[in-house]
Amino acid sequence: MKKKVLSLLLAGAMALSLCACGSSQAPASTAADNGTAATEATPAAGDGKLTGTLNMGVIGPLTGAAAIYGTCVANSAQIAVEEINAISGDFQIALNSQDDEHDAEKSVNAYHNLMDWNVQMIVGCVTTTPCIAVSAEANSDRVFMLTPSASGTAVTEGKDNVFQLCFSDPNQGSASAQYISDKKMGTKIAVIYNNGDAYSTGIYQTFAAKAAELGLEIVSTTTFPDDNATDFSVQLKEAKDAGADLIFLPIYYTPASLILQQASTMGYAPTFFGVDGMDGILTLEGFDTSLAEGVILLTPFVADAKDDATVNFVTKYQEKYGEIPNQFGADAYDCVNVIYAALQKYAAANGGFDVTGVSYSELCEILISVFTGGDFSVDGLTGEAMTWNAAGEVNKAPKGMIIQNGAYVSLD
């Protein structure tokens, strides 16, 4: 009896799965090409005003080791949303931030969770690895994504609906090499990077390629793993023995602070050159900022800049959360404003636009058309006249900064 029941069940399940397989393939193909029809079908109200409520999702690490970036992004997006919601009652943004613990699997879960919430577009993900996984899903579902800080190339590669607000890793690596070569900062270069980290390895790979092209001499390349970032004497000694006069550090600020400290103990004083991950070193607790004197970094955002927009953002952030925002936060603040600007531009060009109830795939095609339209440019905290190419990469000028008397000073 038992066997009969079992075999019946087995056969039933197989038959069922066969039918299910057949039907599940249909919606995927239609979703991909309904975009053109959707753009034409938008209602034209005639007054050029943007109205309705946009469901905006944020995905980032709100807990775990990378939480400092995720929370800053979520908080800054919240500030930008509050500012936009205060402008007029006609257009509102509903924000929903979900945690991904800097893990691809959790990030895809967070993405599906947002889909259940009827999200219309996503600001995220904050970190590269989760972003690659989510952008693949978003690409097949046709959800528009603008990432504040996922800088890997694989995030946007082959995906027309994913855009970056930060520089991509290759851009940072090659811009650094170009900067060093143009300003003749060093002749013998040493690199210390984290070979357990996608961000650091990505920048190093393009830096090395560009340096070879420009004829910069890399005399020493040393690495450290993620879980053992405390002692750098071996790496520094190798750089010193090789006679390096500039050390390139494509790493985050915590290990960088230890490198500066240990180099000073060794009595070794080359020029240190960092990238945007170095931002935050001056606010690190227990770090003697005099060690960072003369450190050069390429970063798009400086929290103590004196322009009105930055001052406004930083004071609001400090009032609300009691901290100084980092560059990730500024990127997220810009992301929300860029989306707002894009929707406004579309509304103005099409005689008004009501966002409420527009499906994510329709909105995706609309935003892609605005971003790649050629005449879309936004001024933000992290750059002036930001534009995007069809590959999803941002075009803005990197700012070279030098640390003098415990503060960032522009190099240009």
Binding site: T63, D99, E105, D116, I132, E137, E157, A198, D226
Partner: protein
């Protein structure tokens, strides 16, 4: 059919649970009555159930604590990704490619499991646990420096960087060191996962019920007595360990091909512990328990998203409560009493109907 019924006579309730699970979710998803959130988790659930079953074979049946199971999973995952990428042009059909990826992933993980088991199984108890932990970390760190590329000439391997692979310009990088696999074509499906799960159940339950399985359990219960009876402890423990590693590898291949990116860092100590938690919560040696615990505990953190920042705290509290309840005599008696009453009732109804 006769062979199938013979193979599935042990622990048949587990097959029924799995098939029912599949049927229910397949009906729900084809009629659209399932949230995106749950739908996206179906494959990970199956993967973690297989992982829990595989670890239960070592921990529950063989009685050795392994803390490096994520290592075998990662070997299977990255092997599967490489196989799938290599065969992309020659086998366009995703399902067939997935079968190749899972089989080769399982074989590789089994081989690594065999190599590791040689030194590891000379130890026992806590020492063995620590050494498996170390091997798990070693596998992770080796994968962190592995670069694999593919061009028209074939596969290239390097432990330094992409440039040193000397690929032709048409070459693509499959594994990029710490960045892991990028741009994997997703071919895992819920159906293929369920088929794999049923196969794994057949393998494990028949192994446990065989002469070999009885020897493994005898050595678990009393190693000295078992050896005195002429059983080779190393041989039987190795059978359990290598089978378990191969199964973990197959689960890894299914997992790796379900996401478009995968980093070696994912398979750290925490993942190994997570799987051990499934096994312990489901009951060590209890396969049905492993299935249910792994499925529920995979979904639970997503269910708790409403608690926002406190969800992992709530998750921990739920874990502690379940541990207390399942180990408390009174609570267990109450639960079994309830079950018995329910069973009696259904038996009575059954006779009344006849």
């Amino acid at each position: 059919m006769k062979l199938l019924s013979k193979l599935t006579k042990n622990g048949y309730q587990n097959y029924i649970i799995v098939i029912l699970f599949f049927a229910v979710f397949q009906i729900l998803s084809s009629t659209g009555h399932i949230s995106n959130s749950l739908k996206g988790q179906l494959v990970p659930i199956v993967v973690y159930v297989i992982m829990a079953l595989s670890l239960n074979l070592v921990v529950g049946i063989s009685g050795e604590l392994s803390l490096g199971h994520a290592g075998f999973m990662s070997v299977g995952a990255f092997t599967g990704i490489i196989v799938s990428a290599t065969l992309q042009n020659s086998i366009p059909n995703g399902s067939i490619r997935l079968v190749f990826a899972i089989v080769i992933g399982a074989v590789f993980a089994g081989v690594i499991g065999f190599l590791i088991s040689v030194p590891v199984l000379r130890l026992n108890g806590d020492y063995l646990a620590i050494v498996t932990l170390a091997f798990g970390e070693i596998i992770k760190n080796l994968l962190n420096i592995t670069y694999v590329g593919l061009d028209s000439k074939g596969l290239h391997l390097s432990t330094k960087d992409i440039a040193s692979m000397n690929m032709k310009p048409d070459g693509i990088t499959i594994l990029n060191g710490p960045m892991g696999a990028l741009g994997t074509v997703k071919i895992s499906t819920f159906f293929s996962g369920i088929v794999l799960l049923l196969l794994v159940l057949i393998v494990i339950q028949n192994l446990v019920a065989s002469r070999c399985g009885r020897a493994i359990m005898a050595l678990r219960d009393n190693r000295i007595a078992g050896e005195a009876c002429g059983l080779s402890a190393t041989k039987y423990k190795m059978i359990a360990f290598v089978t378990s590693a191969a199964i973990a590898g197959s689960a890894g291949a299914l997992y790796g091909l379900n996401y478009s990116t995968l980093v070696p860092k994912k398979f750290d100590f925490n993942t190994s512990i997570l799987i051990l938690v499934f096994v312990v919560l489901g009951g060590i040696g209890n396969m049905t328990g492993s299935i249910i615990a792994a499925a529920l505990l995979t979904v639970l953190p997503e269910m708790l998203r409403t608690f926002r920042d406190y969800r992992m705290l709530v998750y921990a509290i739920v874990l502690i409560l379940v541990m207390i309840v399942t180990n408390n005599e009174k609570a267990r008696d109450a639960l079994t009493g309830l079950l018995r009453r329910f069973r009696k009732k259904s038996v009575k109804e059954g006779t009344a109907n006849e």
